[in-house]
Amino acid sequence: MASLSAEERVALTDAVTRLLADHGAEADVRRSMETERGYDPDLWRRLAEMGVVGLTIDEAWGGVGAGPMELEAVMEAAGAALLCSPLLASGVLAAELLRALGDQDAQARLLPGIAAGTSIATVALTGEAGTWTEDAVSVTAEGDRLSGSASYVLHGQNADVLLAIARTGDGLTVFEVEAKAAGVTVTALPTFDHTLRLARIAFERTPGRRLDGEAWPAARAAMDLALVALAGEQAGGARRCLETTVDYAKDRFQFGRAIGSFQAIKHMAADLLLECESAVSAARRAATRLAEGASDADAAVSLAAFACADAFVRTTADAIQMHGGIAFTWEHPAHLYLRRARADAQLFGTPDAHRERFLEALGA
């Protein structure tokens, strides 16, 4: 994948930040999260027009042809604003799976719609175990008919196209399935993070189209890019959350002084700054190594996965504590960030699982 120049990357990120300031403010997020689909189609269209949805999709298929570094940068802005969208499901996970599989026909068929945002795709990857590991795949295929179920499918209820990983006689294979095909049952899952959409998808002798390519390596590649995107979102979200908390600590007076002047608060803020800045470093490093196709990209992505997940959860949790009572109310946005952080820390594997993978990547 190519990369934009540093200036172009900054310009793109600034444009996304401005768009989200105008159309993705807290009130917009709250409105979107209460809708059934969970995102604002109008904002989605704008993101697609800007190139964000097809950011890492090849130019031949209508994408921008950028790489992990641009995606990570944009996701920092998206995370800061708690963007509600199927970007991770469609533009990142599904698109990258298609790229990595290398099935040209499938790419030609699906990627233009994904890049334009007119078609939403997602990947049915893990079963009820929710570990996103090879052994958790619980869809099986007999010929071109799928059975079994997948869970925790990102935006499964909004998808037009499902890319399902299934067990076949020859190992794992990716199937393209129309969401409206016979024998597909999509059940929206109630999510703790209201800005997230997950579904359980059951297949009953559902017809699918077998795609060429090695399924699991492609799924890993897709998850690696998704983890880099997620790391950017976590780093950006954590930074924003710390900023607003520090601002509050300067304004909120108790005992005749700003609470931020108390070391009890100040020291928490200093520790969180270390967490947030480390998360930013880790996310950007993972993006760079993945973009370069480096041999240690595995280690860099795993490191970012748990460092950013832990940083986001800790920052958002401590932010509530530092605010005090006001952040215990529904109207205050702090819990929205904590909910997002807790969700992000589970997608594509837990922090503990990523620590294990990191150690394995180091040869231990």
């Binding site: 600590a249 700003a258 070391q263 520790d271 270390l274 800045e277 990191f358 150690l359 180091l362 231990a364």
Partner: protein
């Protein structure tokens, strides 16, 4: 790299000078880290200073050339390219820079050149038993008598005190002024009867530092930097140079995450101890290694941001991060070894290491500003949070409480 014409001619001048004069130094002087002061090194440094390459940012009158920072970097790069020491002292020589900024004409004439040539040994006389984190609370007194000051008190955490010729001293000269305003800054001659140096035995059983007892020690009035009562400002200058040198050191660290071909030492230890399969140990291993790598990544990012001219909040986080790393690694070593960590001595080097590192981690989490002070600095200077109210800031120092009492003078 292309340089503008004047820069090009400067570079050529440095190159030509080095080509003519730099012949390398005998082996022992070219130690892997730093330079030990040998006669050959001192002779070389004198040549460098007299040719005005040691401190090119400084004015003509003091061995300088009045160069800009960018021009001076060209000089430093040329010296670095051939491995010659002595350049860049206008950034890195804490003693000479402090003296140049605030010293009397007489003292500068006496010491600037010897300082640039490492011909005088120096030490720091800042901390006291009663003034650690709160450095402005120093109680060592300096009283003026004619053309000199008489100094009484004690200083602590002084390295190099036994061999130093001068100590940069902060002492209280006015007990009626508020704490920051009654302090003066001196170059105290160390080799005199009123100065007693006692090595300090650390919790690691090492002796890197000293206590320095000052009993009617004499310091000439010309060794006072700036004015009486203006020592706090001088100290800030000195601390800024010290931090910038420490910062340079940090910035010179490995860029990006290490990609060592050899195994991480902690993994090797766990493997050797037979616990690499323990899932709890594995989690802690991953986390400890991660913290070290994250710190390297932060440093590399800060360096890149500074190079682009942006200020970076990340630079100030390194010390706090390192405390956490060192304590965590020591804890993990102990967990890996289990009961073996009960032991010490040459037959038990792994235990010896774990136990030493456990104790020595405090060197970083206390020395050079405790983690708690560091968090205050980050909170206040980086995040812009307000300071705690200071009850002792604007009252005469003699009324400031020390323990349960006010100062007795």
């Amino acid at each position: 790299m292309t340089l503008a014409a004047p820069d090009q001619s400067l570079r050529d001048e440095v190159r030509a000078w080095l080509a003519q004069h730099w012949k390398g130094l005998p082996r022992p002087a070219q130690a892997a880290v730093g330079w030990t002061s040998t006669p050959e090194l001192r002779a070389w440094l004198r040549q460098v200073a007299q040719a005005r390459w040691a401190v090119p940012r400084w004015p003509q009158a003091w061995f300088g050339r009045g160069l800009s920072d960018g021009e001076a970097r060209i000089v430093e790069r040329e010296f670095a390219a051939v491995g010659a020491p002595g350049a860049g002292q206008d950034r890195a020589n804490l003693w000479a820079n402090t003296l140049l900024a605030h010293g009397t004409q007489a003292l500068k004439e006496e010491l600037i050149l010897p300082l640039l040539c490492h011909e005088v040994g120096m030490c720091l006389l800042y901390s006291e038993p009663g003034a650690g984190s709160d450095l402005a609370g120093v109680r060592t007194r300096a009283e003026r008598t004619g053309d000199h000051f008489v100094v009484n008190g004690s200083k602590v955490w002084t390295s190099g005190a036994a061999t130093a010729d001068y100590g940069m001293l902060i002492a209280r000269t006015d007990w009626n002024a508020p704490k920051h305003k009654g302090i003066s800054f001196f170059f105290l001659p160390m080799k005199q009867p009123g100065v007693e140096v006692r090595p300090l035995r650390q919790i690691t059983d090492e002796r890197h530092f000293n206590e320095v007892f000052l009993t009617d020690a004499i310091v000439p009035a010309e060794n006072l930097l700036k004015g009486e009562g203006e020592g706090w400002g001088v100290l800030q200058t000195a601390l800024a140079y010290e931090r910038s040198v420490m910062g340079e050191g940090a910035r010179g660290a490995r860029s990006g995450a290490p990609e060592s071909k050899t195994e991480e030492p902690l993994i090797a230890l766990a493997r050797e101890a037979g616990v690499l399969g323990d899932p709890l140990i594995r989690q802690d291993l991953a986390q400890a290694i991660a913290w070290r790598r994250l710190n390297a990544l932060n440093t590399a990012r800060a360096k890149a941001e500074l190079a682009q001219g942006a200020s970076s909040p990340v630079m100030s986080l390194g010390k706090l991060a390192m405390s956490r790393i060192l304590h965590a690694e020591a804890r993990l070593r102990t967990a890996i070894l289990g009961a073996e960590s009960l032991l010490e001595g040459p037959d038990h080097p792994r235990a010896e290491d774990a136990n030493f590192l456990t104790l020595n981690a405090y060197f970083t989490s206390i020395g050079g500003g405790t983690d708690q002070i560091q968090r205050n600095i980050i909170g206040e200077r980086v995040l812009g949070l307000p300071k705690e109210p200071e009850v002792d800031r604007d009252i005469p120092f003699r009324d400031v409480k020390s323990g349960k009492h006010t100062s007795k003078i």
